[in-house]
Symmetry: C2
Subunit: 311 residues, 2 copies
Amino acid sequence: MRAVPALRIAVGPPGHRGERLAEQAVVAGGGTIVRPGGATADGLVWLDGADPAGLRQALTAWPAVRWVQLPWAGVEAITGAFDHDRIWTCAKGSFAEPVAEHALTLALAGLRRLPERITARTWGKPGGTSLFDADVTILGGGGIAVALLHLLAPFRVRATVVRRRADPVPGAARTVATADLDGALPGALVVFLALALTPETAGIIGAAELARMDERAWLVNVARGRHVDTAALVDALRRRAIAGAALDVTEPEPLPDGHPLWTLPNAIVTPHTADWPEIVTGLLAARITANVRHLAAGQPLEGVVDASAGY
Amino acid sequence: MRAVPALRIAVGPPGHRGERLAEQAVVAGGGTIVRPGGATADGLVWLDGADPAGLRQALTAWPAVRWVQLPWAGVEAITGAFDHDRIWTCAKGSFAEPVAEHALTLALAGLRRLPERITARTWGKPGGTSLFDADVTILGGGGIAVALLHLLAPFRVRATVVRRRADPVPGAARTVATADLDGALPGALVVFLALALTPETAGIIGAAELARMDERAWLVNVARGRHVDTAALVDALRRRAIAGAALDVTEPEPLPDGHPLWTLPNAIVTPHTADWPEIVTGLLAARITANVRHLAAGQPLEGVVDASAGY
């Protein structure tokens, strides 16, 4: 077995608060750190998920980079920097379990009326809805959907997954293509949004889709706020056309003070915290270490982005 | 095969709002209904779980009854009517899934800071705690514990079950006897109470037990309020000696207006609604039908109460 020369990995942008942990993760994967002005870099770990111009500049400075690791699961803010000259990987899949956990938490909280219970100052009437044996619909067929299906399995739900192509997703009762979304909304007790944001999926839940949901249904969004027409949602919640909405992401985000979603009794808003910094840092470090190791060994990388599809 | 004469089943107390559904369930199980003043009764379905005197009176009126079906999972309010002359069954196990679901809901809601999120009127800081790969402790080794372990399995928790005897519970990493409770509290991210209320388990969680729990831990009670020393709990929550408590049952119950648990930011109170009337009615009817059928066929009944142990 011949010794493989260590991969030279740059980490940026310089001074980012995650820099040190990322460098440690690179070293743990067997890579060596290249500093600005130093030798050629084979790979780049880029910790800012919202600065495509800075990233393009870094790639100009490190022209030999053949792999770029991005920090978040969603990369829609940085697609402007993508090219087909190298492999792009992101954190998708890596955060799937905590995000799926948050989605389940929000669904159960809605069904068990926690907005009412938590704000109550007096003993109320019993009541609630069980997730056991329910029909649910999940938009998105990636890592979050798979992790969520795993958490939902003991509830014996019948899950319909809606995704770009209708390739079956393990654990789903059926998988349909996005063109058949309309038929997947009626009857679902919970509609989960766990899909990537692309030009095709922005606004995928609007007034017409909300109108197709059951009156007893909850909408749970752990994807991106722009998937939902916020004005149409506020209107549906006010009219109680659906039972409620639990949103970890909003449009606009952060949700401004005074927004009706803060005070609607059938809305739950959490501050984009399905994956929160403490957990993300550890999981991203593990992804970086694994990908440095895979790249050195010539193995497939984890979380590869389709630069054309944009996720 | 000889024809088995239909069992004669009485339903009481007369005029109870569940009477008609219970009678339908008896008939669905192949039994015939005996009315007051009618023929001898072989069995009695008693729908009031808190009136031992009324039940004793009914048993005097129907002396040949060899089986009594009780309406709730917890029978501590009616143990005064128990005797060893017949088989006693209750709803235990039957409501296990919705109760376990409520317990998981409360745990996730606490760990994901929903009390803070649901009352927020402005975008907050991200943060929370994941249940994935955590240590949890469950007091009780009956149907609710088993159902809860099933829901917790995809989270890869390491569960310690604490029960009267240390017989292993499927799905638990370890099972210990109640005498070893002290050792099962430190390190648990969530301590679930899912045990029967008996003289031995009343007050099982007091100041000393709360002091052994981690500062980051949540206490979840879906059993009975009297398992917990409420004053000690309020004190622990005020000092943030534990992260929080989520209680579906309280002592006193209903929790009176103005009680500190209503306003403590790290307490969640739900109104004894882990199993709520709509779901209980259907599940109890199924239990009645099954037990009428089993009794006629000479098979073991479901939810048999140990009249000596009191659950």
